[in-house]
């Protein structure tokens, strides 16, 4: 695929912009600055950062593919996700934001359940974040590969490596600033693609509506009740308060800023997903029928955009991938240093910051390796969702509401929820079609109750964060 001067200028301009933002927000002298930006980020930036992270490859490239193959069905199922973000904003994010002495999700878990639960939270968080980084890197790498023809490994290194450098240099404030810019770029470009498709006459609305109804009917006929429940639950709970989102709540200026940021991001999901789903369905009118679902967004945009504007699309795709990667990479480093390395004894401030920066690069390298074996976007996300919700979500949510929490409730819930979900999915292959996330959540709740009954409350020293 040949790139002309305008395309190259757009791509180069994108990287220059990211470089300028990283330069102006680069300095991090303490681990607190690196992890939560001194708890000083305003609501609108929390919104932009969350929206940029949420609208990653899965909710853009992957979702256009779902529109292409299943019409509007997935849009309605995934509204559960938007609802979750709004509910988190209304009820959980302000409580999380109130934990001003916490720099990570594991810190919150330690206050509620002690060090073992913090360590388990850290291990799950790091593994999950590397998995997310790998899946997103695979999408970005594949796009770069299809455009440049470079070897896949080089493309994976180019995409994830650039993200790692931005995250390495500036911590969470640099990450949030670049995410906001990336959010703006992808929002403007993808919206322009949709409007151009409609105004330019490529997408006929009546025809698209018929196509959507037909595809939706076929998709619904092919799904049973358990499958629908599984998808709704996975999207409703699978990403709830994962480390990058929890870190945004902790980085917010205050509880009200955190609340407003999450609620706006949830509402933005409703709008964005509708727009991208429409693009996927309408593409049937102007994209070859044998196109793979994950290629629909890029091909549709390439067809619609005027000659010489393909570079803008490339910049938007890079922005989609990198924005999500930055947030999860930053969170993986924070979780590793704070919840795994420092769980017994914290190293000095300088060593902690250096470890956080180095681990950013190491986890990026691991993600590049893992990306070569990652499944398709949506399948990969659903797999990760089935691990997060049954492990950390139950003790986290209950811990934010309950007084007198018990240590055994925390670690038992994580171990029972995670292991039962994995065994149900990997070894038993979801008997009867019952989704593993449901089994894992049930086991986590039971184990939490058991641990709560058999253990004594967390020592008051731990409740105040001194442990």
């Amino acid at each position: 695929m040949n790139l002309n001067a305008l395309d190259l200028t757009a791509v180069a301009g994108y990287f220059v912009l990211i470089g300028i933002l990283a330069y102006f927000t680069r300095r991090t002298k303490t681990f607190e600055e690196f992890s939560v930006g001194k708890h000083s980020v305003p609501a609108i930036m929390i919104f932009a950062s969350l929206a940029a992270t949420i609208v990653g490859p899965g909710f853009s490239i992957g979702f256009a593919g779902r529109g292409w193959s299943t019409g509007y069905v997935f849009y309605f199922l995934v509204l559960a996700y938007a609802l979750q973000v709004v509910l988190v904003g209304l009820f959980l994010a302000p409580r999380l934001s109130a934990q001003r002495d916490c720099l990570s999700l594991g810190d919150v878990m330690r206050k509620k359940y002690g060090r073992l639960t913090q360590l388990l939270t850290g291990i799950v968080s790091v593994g999950l974040c590397i998995g997310f980084t790998a899946i997103m890197g695979k999408v970005g790498g594949a796009t770069l590969h299809s455009v440049t023809g470079w070897p896949m490994l080089i493309c994976l290194i180019a995409v994830t490596g650039t993200t790692a450098l931005v995250t390495f240099s500036g911590g969470v404030r640099a990450t949030i600033a670049t995410e906001a810019m990336q959010f703006a770029i992808k929002s403007i470009v993808i919206s322009a693609v949709v409007l151009l498709a409609v105004i330019g006459g490529k997408a006929d609305l009546a025809q698209t509506a018929d196509q959507a109804a037909e595809l939706s009917r076929q998709a619904l006929d092919g799904m049973n009740g358990w499958q629908i429940t599984g998808v709704v639950l996975a999207f409703m709970l699978g990403e709830a308060l994962i480390p990058p989102y929890a870190n945004r709540a902790l980085a917010a200026k205050g509880a009200s800023g955190s609340k407003a940021g999450f609620v706006m991001a949830g509402l933005f999901c409703v709008v964005w997903l509708g727009m991208v789903t429409f693009l996927g369905v309408s593409a049937h009118a102007f994209v070859p029928a044998d196109t793979a679902a994950d290629d629909v967004l890029v091909l549709a945009a390439r067809t619609v955009l005027p000659a010489g504007m393909f570079g803008l699309l490339l910049a938007a795709v890079m922005a989609i991938v990198m924005a999500s990667q930055e947030a999860v990479l930053n969170s993986s480093a924070v979780a590793f240093v704070r919840d795994i390395v420092s769980v017994q004894r914290a190293p000095s401030e300088r060593t902690t910051l250096a470890l956080a920066k180095i681990s950013t690069l190491v986890f990026a390298a691991l993600a590049i390796y893992a990306a070569q074996y990652a499944p398709s976007i949506i399948d990969g996300l659903l797999l990760l969702y089935s691990i997060w919700a049954p492990t950390v979500l139950v003790p986290l949510v209950l811990g934010l509401f309950l007084e007198n929490t018990r240590p055994a409730a925390g670690w038992l819930s994580i171990l029972a929820g995670g292991s039962s979900s994995l065994v149900w999915q990997m070894a038993l292959h979801e008997p009867g079609g019952v989704p593993s996330i449901l089994v894992g959540l049930g086991a986590a709740l039971l184990a939490y109750g058991l641990g709560h009954v058999m253990d004594r409350p967390v020592a008051s020293t731990q409740q105040t964060g001194a442990a």
Partner: protein, 52 residues
């Protein structure tokens, strides 16, 4: 779904893209303020260090 599909399609095709562009514009304005704040923070730290 059929009866609701056409109005929904109009909503997705016209209203939502405009809403997304407006969100992006608001974010860009906020981003400039955010960078100013962060950079001012850095300058204050620099001046304090120079004085020491």
């Amino acid at each position: 779904m059929d009866a609701a599909t056409l109005p929904l399609t109009y909503l997705f095709a016209y209203v939502f893209p405009v809403a997304v562009i407006v969100s992006a514009a608001i974010t860009l304005v906020a981003l400039v303020d955010f960078i100013k704040d962060v950079y001012a923070d850095i300058r204050i730290e620099d001046r304090a260090r120079d004085r020491r």
